[in-house]
Subunit: 447 residues, 2 copies
């Protein structure tokens, strides 16, 4: 297990629970919303602003970072945490979803997926093993297995094939990670931040770990001498072949040492077909992942169906592992899906909507460019305690959007992220105080 998940409260009548996710870069309180930092940045936010908002963990997209600036560069400068100046937990997706949703798909084969770069049209290939390698180069705390995502609406045949393939790929990803990083015990995964900031996996320095040529071959890790270091446990770390640091060099040389193995999550597919969801979940459970994601939801199916399938699938998964509903959702979805047993969420909605001038408020959505706000001196949400609502009026923010000023997107993003983070904080607090049912019905009554 690459991470430890503690449940600290469970709701009596729903599947909702509050937990603590122990990662190499700190503890994440669940349920949690992860803002999307596609290219290693949550668009428009500084890392300091994210910290002020109480963001605990970011999601970054492997596909985008692989293409630009390239995972090799990120590994060379010490990993994504160091690259971004974000010393807190990070989850990376496998790249599969982008590859398939950006219409860049060339061909899915048993071995992996061919795709074309949306930047320059160049051809690339991701196998399940490559996806692990690229994510190790990025150095996230939680990484995902490559899965096949099928576009909605889908045929039963297509979704069944995707479940089978995703299962086989999950096995290969698990095997790849195990071969590179012997699994530490749970207690050893709670490495100090000092040893893990600036991670640089020397095992990743072989050239062409990822190439644009398809290849299922895996190089077994070459044995390397252990490097003793008082700051970290060698177990579960990929060791560098460079000599032990002298005291003067230690702050630099530590960066050459490895981080604890990341946690690996398997992804349950199966669309809205219960039998396929069960088949997918059972296959992954045999492989014993650190956590389980629910993929292929919120892709166009009716909302009620999404909730039902999320609930059905969550019940198939072990109680003591985190459950991550990928790409979901609206503020309402957060509460509804926590109630159905989900612990982790990510979605571009708060940030993308913000950039389009759509802000979430306690009174519903506000389309800030609307002329009626031109003289509106009230904040975006009079009930909101965020830094934006404490300082700026709708009138001003509307002006910024109309004038195409960056600050419009910045302020709307800050506000929307606060709305999501704050909602999740309230959900968690209601769970800790045994008041989730009450909170749940209050949210349901909102406009």
């Amino acid at each position: 297990m690459g991470l430890r998940f503690e449940i600290v409260a469970e709701d009596a009548t729903t599947g909702a629970r509050a937990g603590l996710l122990h990662t190499p870069h700190g503890i994440v309180e669940t349920p949690v919303f992860m803002p999307v930092g596609t290219a290693g940045t949550v668009k428009g936010m500084t890392q300091g602003q994210l910290e002020e908002l109480g963001v605990q963990i970011l999601l970054a997209n492997t596909y985008h970072l692989y293409l630009r600036p390239g995972h090799e560069i990120i590994r060379e400068v010490g990993g994504l945490h160091r690259f971004m100046g974000w010393p807190h937990p990070i989850l990376t997706d496998s790249g599969g979803f982008q590859v398939m949703s950006l219409k860049s798909l060339g061909r899915v084969t048993e071995d992996g997926v061919w795709f074309k770069s949306h930047l320059d049209g160049s051809s690339h290939f991701f196998s399940p093993e490559h996806a692990v390698e690229v994510q190790l180069a990025l150095g996230a705390d939680i990484i995902m297995t490559l899965d096949e995502c099928v576009e909605y609406p889908y045929s039963h045949e297509a979704i069944h094939r995707a479940v089978k393939l995703t299962g086989r790929w999950a096995g290969r990803a698990k095997e790849k990670l195990s071969a590179i990083s012997p699994q530490p015990s749970a207690s050893e995964t709670q490495a100090s931040e000092q040893s893990s900031i600036g991670n640089r996996q020397s095992a990743m320095r072989e050239p062409s770990a990822i190439s644009s040529q398809p290849s299922a071959s895996e190089e077994p890790p070459s044995p390397q001498p252990p490097v003793p270091s008082p700051q970290q446990s060698p177990i579960g770390n990929r060791q560098s072949s460079i000599p032990a640091p002298s005291p003067l060099q230690s702050s630099i040389v530590n960066r050459q040492l490895a981080i604890p193995a990341p946690a690996l999550f398997g992804i349950v597919q199966g669309g809205v077909d219960r039998d396929l969801r069960r088949e997918s979940a059972e296959g992954l459970l045999e492989l014993d992942f650190d956590g389980y994601a629910l993929g292929g939801l919120s892709v166009g199916e009716p909302k009620a169906e999404m909730y039902e399938v999320a609930e059905y699938t969550a019940r198939l998964l072990p109680r003591n592992r985190p459950r991550y509903l990928m790409g979901v959702g609206t503020p309402e979805d957060l509460v509804e899906c926590v109630a159905r047993g989900i612990d982790m969420f990510d979605c571009v909605m708060p940030t993308r909507n913000a950039r389009n001038g759509c802000v979430f408020t306690s009174q519903g959505k506000v389309i800030i460019k609307n002329t009626k706000y031109a003289r509106d001196e009230s904040p975006l949400d009079p009930a909101c305690g965020c830094p934006v609502c404490g300082r700026y009026s709708r009138s001003y923010i509307r002006h910024l959007f109309v004038a195409g000023e960056m600050l419009g997107a910045i302020l709307a993003t800050q506000h929307n992220l606060h709305f999501y983070i704050d909602r999740m904080r309230k959900i968690r607090q209601s769970l800790l105080f045994g008041a989730f049912a009450e909170f749940h019905s209050r949210v349901r009554a909102e406009p």
Copy 2:
């Protein structure tokens, strides 16, 4: 006088001096650099970030705010300070420079200037009086007279005509402001911030104070009963006709009351012709402005000439009034022109260059998109103490620019503004400690 200027230190061998500029929204330490907030925002910066950088006073462009969102809207929502969420000093330009530099000039007449909106091509007219009225609606602490800016290179005839016209316009602007706002004594202009935040000049509520039709007519202010208020001196304030507030209403009703009259600066023109500069300055001195700006410099003339003319002109101006060199300049220019007696500067260079990926450092300019920075883990400027250099690498910021991520512009802007503000802080400190000459030669020796 709308503001008080105190000189607290003078350099023994140059014209450099350190001062305190007392405005209705706080004291500005001079010499000072004013970041440009064209449309009521310093592009990419939150007001909180500007405060953290130590920005004391912003410049906003009357032309842009007049066109969008419109000065009437800004007046209605309580003035620019309140609109922007910036409770600190603001200076507005007269709009003249933009009108003439945006090639939107239709025609300069004795009465004023016709121009077309760069947004929709609509026709507008600014007279010296209108420029005052619009700026009063915005409610800045320091406002500028409308001047005629001549493009470089210019004929002697053109520049002479501009000097004469600018002089006559300055007189009309002064008269207009005096008619609207009886001049308070210097001590009375140190109004508390409480009384001036949320300024709303009821005198400006007459319809069509600004219209798109040319008109030199001025409506004399209608006499209105004074409204006693413990929070402010009625002298020098434009009084509202609304009744005195009840205690419960006071926080709202105070916004209906007026602010102290802004300080009005005259603008010395004359190109690089000493005689014309003298003629222009002498004309303005007779009118007795709160401060004096140097216009028409850094428009293409050789640098040495700019420095000489700045020095020559500064010497023509009274010691006890602030001197503002408009639109200047490079980090080097700041030191050189402080040495020549300048107290105030504004320039788009730190912010515009930042958005283009050009950052100022102690080692000279860095073009951050350059490939050589792809793996450069050092900060933008290793000698810099700004929040950006404390957290992010060149490698990351280059990536942000290459990927077209907003955060690139944000971080570069924050860094460049810090560079300018920090330079000015050091200049001022060297003046206070009698070490300006030393600082001056150190800067001259820099790359």
